[in-house]
Amino acid sequence: MPDVTHIETVKAPLEATWDFCKDMNNWVQYLKGYEKHEEKSETDSTWWIKGDVGIMAKTVSFDVHIEEWIDNDKVTFSMKGVSENMTGKGSLKVDADGDNTKLTFYLEIKAGGLIGPMVNAVLGPVLKPIATDFAEKLIARIEEIQASQ
């Protein structure tokens, strides 16, 4: 199953990092290909992401559900393709690292059904750059906010 874990240090204290990460509305737009999202409740939303897997690009919508939300620790979510046979999950976890914060981003996306194994072969190589790009943008924003305070 295609998945990726990206760990990076944020030059901001844990509380400030968590304050940003705890609200999905703050960071979903940093996902590569983000087009829009709609909040349906405190725990549920729909994301529209234009995914480019090398062989083609397509806008895919996911129903996203916040599975777990632990203050100053992590937020985990699950994803289900609205019209594509895809599921996924992800998390943002924060850990104190002196005056800084260790940020761990995990993302897993899996295509199901008969041709799922072929789709997953295409998805695998694109997840790492997605995670790296996301983490870089997220961290830059957190550090920008921190610097302005």
Binding site: I55, M56, A57, T59, S83, L114, M118, A121, V122
Partner: protein, 549 residues
């Protein structure tokens, strides 16, 4: 006309523009004939329309047929090709293609290593004189793209026809009728391991052939103008690379292998007017070679013809930043599926060869000038959905939300926008035919080709099945183009003719950049690739014999 530069950035003997099947073959042959070769590719990917295709060369009278006990001959091939060309192509050009195609195929097999097998695929008019039920469409083996080294990632990715396996394995599996026969876990592993199949394989073999000869394509170099000497002979091009002029001199010839013009809206509207049109080739096919040739007075030919195919556009899908068109095959040819127009009426043998079927989208009512079959829809029922692949949706899985569905035919027609009463009558009539296994209206299922594209496990006719089990499904379908097939007219040497007579010395054209020697027709699966390779071969052989200037 471009000015002579003060300084050439590169100097060679033969310059090839474009890296599809025609361009890569030209480069290989020119090298093997002793010429120094430079190949310019406009994009950052190698393979052109060949890479996104099935990868078949269609070679009448080929060297593999006798080994397989298949009877073919030059005479049969000529008879058939002249039928296909419909009197619109000079006989000597048809003969040049027929005489050289088997030679180039055997040469590429022996000297480049491109392995093919005879497919079960019939010619697209197998029942016509000289047509064959099998033997001419040669399916490519798979290729390990790791053999390309650092060029591996430069190979153009096929967005649709991209099974990473050999044609032989694919065909044996009968996956077109039952996609569950393929081992998708293994295919996924093949992809991860760098195995490519179909058109990517053919393009990869040819690229390897170039690299083995020391020909490294110059990437992202778009030729813009041909440069002539004082006698009018072509001696080079002005290209653009990294935003600057890039001049390449060619002392023996320039071969235009830049693909078709199906993505250039202005050229397309001028030469291939069509109410609906969906290009399927790489978006870089913008008629660069055609425009350069027009600018210096090339004679043009076959300009209003395309390698057509009824196609769909899945909303939101893109390739190279442009809408991705998907050609229909099983969606249209398997039992339990039909096409209808706004009156809810069928209008063609849906299973017949895609290029000729696509022509009926241009039919007009002579009184009203209304396009009779635009818009059109493909309709299928739950029987189809239970058994066959619908684009990327396997049997048993729900259709995507762009597909309209309903519980009754009338409701489906109303939702989609075609006449419910007409559609109801069409289904009643068609279902009666399907049960009998005969289609007196359009002859669906009456040719070897139709039946090949159907389901061998379906009876009484592989191509005919009732459309009667709810829910019913429909999607819009339109005229698509695998590529345009008009361009500079050439002689038997591949030399571009001048509109005022004679040839433009030093200028050649091959593949979809030239006026196709198939005229309006499509001989069989791989006619496009065979023409590209063959005319690339002919042009390169001739150019390499020219005196250096």
């Amino acid at each position: 006309m471009a000015k002579m530069p003060d300084k050439w950035d590169l100097e060679t003997e033969i310059l090839v523009l474009g890296s599809g099947g025609a361009g890569l073959t030209s480069a290989i042959i020119a090298h093997d004939e002793g010429a120094k070769v430079v190949l310019l590719e406009k994009t950052d990917k190698i393979g052109g329309a060949t890479a996104v295709s099935g990868g078949f060369p269609w070679i009448p009278n080929n060297h593999l047929e006798p080994q397989a006990g298949i009877s073919d001959s030059r005479e049969d091939a000529l008879t058939y090709m002249k039928f296909i060309a419909d009197g619109q192509v000079d006989d000597e050009l048809v003969e040049a293609f027929i005489d050289n195609a088997p030679i180039v195929m055997q040469y590429i097999e022996e000297k480049v290593g491109l392995k093919t097998v005879i497919s079960e695929m019939p010619d697209y008019h197998d029942g016509k004189p000289g047509g064959k039920a099998k033997g001419r469409s040669l399916g490519p083996d798979s290729f390990d793209s790791n053999e390309l080294g650092e060029w591996k990632d430069r190979l153009r990715q096929a967005p649709v026809v991209m099974f990473p396996t050999s044609w032989e394995e694919y065909e044996k599996s009968n996956a077109k009728a039952d996609p569950r026969n393929l081992d998708y876990v293994q295919l996924g592993k093949n992809m991860m391991a760098g195995i490519v199949g179909m058109g990517m394989s053919t393009a990869a073999y040819l690229l390897k052939g170039c690299l083995d000869r020391g020909i490294e394509p110059v990437m992202e170099a778009r030729a813009r103008e041909l440069i002539q000497d004082e006698d009018g002979r072509i001696i080079g091009v002005r290209a653009e690379k990294e935003g600057k002029n890039f001049y390449v001199r060619a002392s023996q010839g320039v071969i235009l292998a830049t693909g078709g013009f199906e993505w250039d809206e202005e050229l397309r509207k001028k030469f291939v007017p069509s109410p609906d049109f969906l290009p399927l080739g790489p978006p870089s096919n913008e008629g660069d070679g055609l425009k350069m040739a027009m600018a210096i007075g090339a004679e043009l030919g076959n300009m209003h013809q395309i390698w057509g195919v009824p196609s769909c556009q899945v909303p939101g899908e893109e390739y190279d930043g442009k809408p991705l068109g998907r050609m229909t095959m099983g969606e249209r040819t398997m039992p339990h599926s039909i096409m209808v127009n706004r009156q809810g009426k069928r209008f063609v043998d849906e299973s017949f060869n895609y290029s000729d079927v696509a022509k009926v989208f241009c039919d007009i009512n002579p009184v009203t000038y209304e396009h009779i079959n635009v818009p059109a829809w493909m309709v299928f029922d739950q029987q189809f959905k239970d058994k066959y692949m619908f684009f990327v949706t396997p049997p048993g899985e729900p259709v995507q939300d762009w597909v309209t569905q309903a519980d009754t035919p009338e409701e489906l027609a109303t939702k989609a926008g075609f006449d419910p009463e007409g559609f109801k009558a069409t289904l009643e009539r068609f279902n009666e035919f399907a049960r009998k296994g005969e289609d007196p209206d359009f002859g669906r299922g009456s040719t070897a080709y139709d039946r090949y594209q159907g389901d061998p496990n379906h009876s009484p006719n592989d191509a005919l099945g009732t459309v009667e089990k709810a829910p019913f499904y429909t999607v819009p379908i339109m005229r698509g183009a695998l590529g345009s097939k008009g361009g500079p007219a050439t002689n038997v040497n591949g030399q571009v003719k001048h509109v005022m007579g004679g040839v433009i010395e030093g200028l050649y054209a091959a593949g979809n950049a030239m006026a196709s020697t198939s005229g309006p027709g499509y001989g069989g699966a791989g006619n496009t690739i065979a023409a590209g390779m063959t005319w690339g071969y002919i042009a390169a052989k001739h150019a390499a014999k020219q005196p250096k200037r």
